[in-house]
Amino acid sequence: MSIITRLGVKNTREIARISSLTSSFATQSEPPSPVAPDEFRVLKLRPDPVQERQKREIRRTEVPPPRSTQMKFDQDWGSVWPAARSFHPATVPLPVRQGYPLKNAAPPNKYGNAELMKIPNFLHLTPPVVTKQCEALKKFCTPWPAGLETDEKCEKHFPVEVLTSDYCYSSPTIREPLARVVTIRLKLSTLNLDQHARDKLLRLVGDRYNPEDDLLTITSDRCPTRKQNFEYIEYLLTALYHESWRTEPWEAEKSEADMEYYDWDKSKSRDGLITLYCWPEPPIDNDYETIPHATEYKIAVSDLINNGEDEYSLNKYKEAVKNMLFLEGQEKK
């Protein structure tokens, strides 16, 4: 290759073609040296030393020390942490730790601790802040109505509780379909019902009544607006109440199997007791009051069947039967 390069300039035109072909074989492709056009180019057996590339300077932003180190002990925390936000280690001046500890190590500290950031915190609701906010809200409040000092009084004067939900968020529409749902709750004992009416109402409402806390709950979501739903519930409650008080002719057909509880006065037990007491004569009247201890027995049987059988109710039944049937013989002795 060096031979070819030494050829005269005259031939360069022809050789250039070859050179361009052969240059791909050159181990080092040299940049065209600044040589005068009439001079030979100098063969450089050792290439020039590579110039050191200038390193890019890395700019480091200066990290100030954590803010918590500069906090004064009597600062106004409410202005440091005014609203709900995720945990920030440099802002919270507390040496909190959280997370799964490694062996023989304490739990991870607060810096770069995802565990602490995951959980919601109430750092914006410290007691002084709450007090301050309440103070600020006080000017919008009206005095508590007289006569409603206690919960009992509230329940007495306002037995019906209306439950609705309001939704607040930023989106193109401020309508929320769930806001139309209206629920009312009231204690059944606040309604004026007799035994028949109460039984009928309970059958009508089905599982909307909770016997544990005596609460009747009615929910409506069938109408498009809250007002309509509320009015519908008002209608339902009125209809329920009046329907319960009405006695239909077919209600007289209620048999023992339809009874919601064991009624001793209509039971075979009562008839049996009266015939047993009058035996061997057939019973004259249907009155059990003349039988000694019959009332006690009645209560015992009703409890045994209505409240379920256990040792206690069975012993009560036993005592009642003993008093009714056996006392006579024992007195004789």
Partner: protein, 389 residues
Amino acid sequence: MAFNTLKVENFLRRVSAASIKKYATASEAVQVQEEPPVHFRTAESNPVNHTTQHQERFYTIPNDVYKKLYSGGGLPKEFMKQVKTFNECCFLTRSPTIEILSYLRNTNYNKPVNRYVLYGPSGCGKTLSMAHILHYGLATQKVLIHIPWAPNWFRHPKEVANSTTREGYVDLPIDAAAWLIHFKNQNSQLLEQLKLTTDKEYTWSLRESTPRGVPLMQLIDLGINRVRYASEIIIALTSELKEASIAGKCQTLVMIDGYNIFFTDRTRVFTDAKAMVLPDKVSLTIAALEMTKYDWCNGAVVVSVDQLAVGGKKESDLPRLLLGKAGFEHLDPFMPVSVNPYTDSEFYNVMDYFKDRRWVRNCDDEGLQELKLLSAKNGFKLMNLCAAL
């Protein structure tokens, strides 16, 4: 048909032979009398005198009474084995028995009968309490209507036949005849003394009938010999005894073990068409239910309700659940009497009794404690645990 009669005859021959053997006195073991008084025994063997002062102690049943009362059933099988091993039959006098005996003594017998229902966990002694009361009935000259274990009729019936007189009912002829034999064994002497006669005329078929004024023993014998009519004869017999009790000619003690079977909804009695027969369509049930009604006097009814009678599938041992609605209404008002596991002192007395019989040896205080915990003071479990010691 021929085969059937053959079967019946064979069975009856077997039953009578067995009972005759039991009644024989020749091979009887010699009773050792005058045993030294020990703290767990009482010499008072007459249950009429049993009161709370005999409580928690064993009393011995005379051998002839044992054979008379319990040879046709009435004691658990394991207990019978134990009796044979110990060569004596001893009952522990327990509080439910004492309670019922005191009621029986103090009842006004002009009033309708009182019903007593024994209840409690299996193996705690309901059947043995009934056996004790049965002895009391014998001692007080009561006619004993004793159904040893009613579920046998409905769970293992020997033979099922359609009733000829009652439409839609089925008879259990062999079981009925076997029960009549049991009844005869228990009451023959008393019935001869009382000289009870039939009050009505009964027609069993076109040719066979029983006129008025026939001794009840003759009626019973007819039932034993003519197995076909045994069920009807039991119904007639019970109603006759009821009438006699009302008239004051006799006193009757009705005892039914496993009474709740009469109100169950599952039996193993099947008709020819393989249809299950409920207890209220079995003619023997009529007699049992008639006797447990309140409409008679001069008697007492003691029944027991048991989980085992209905297959042990109920969730408690209490009588209202086991009897069900119909049963409760039938018996109401009744007197529930609970039979509980042994008390501590009863447990130690039972263990002393076992040691006395050389049934348990080398059992120190620790062993006793372990047995107490293992058996949970349940009599049946304790008996089984001690069998290996």
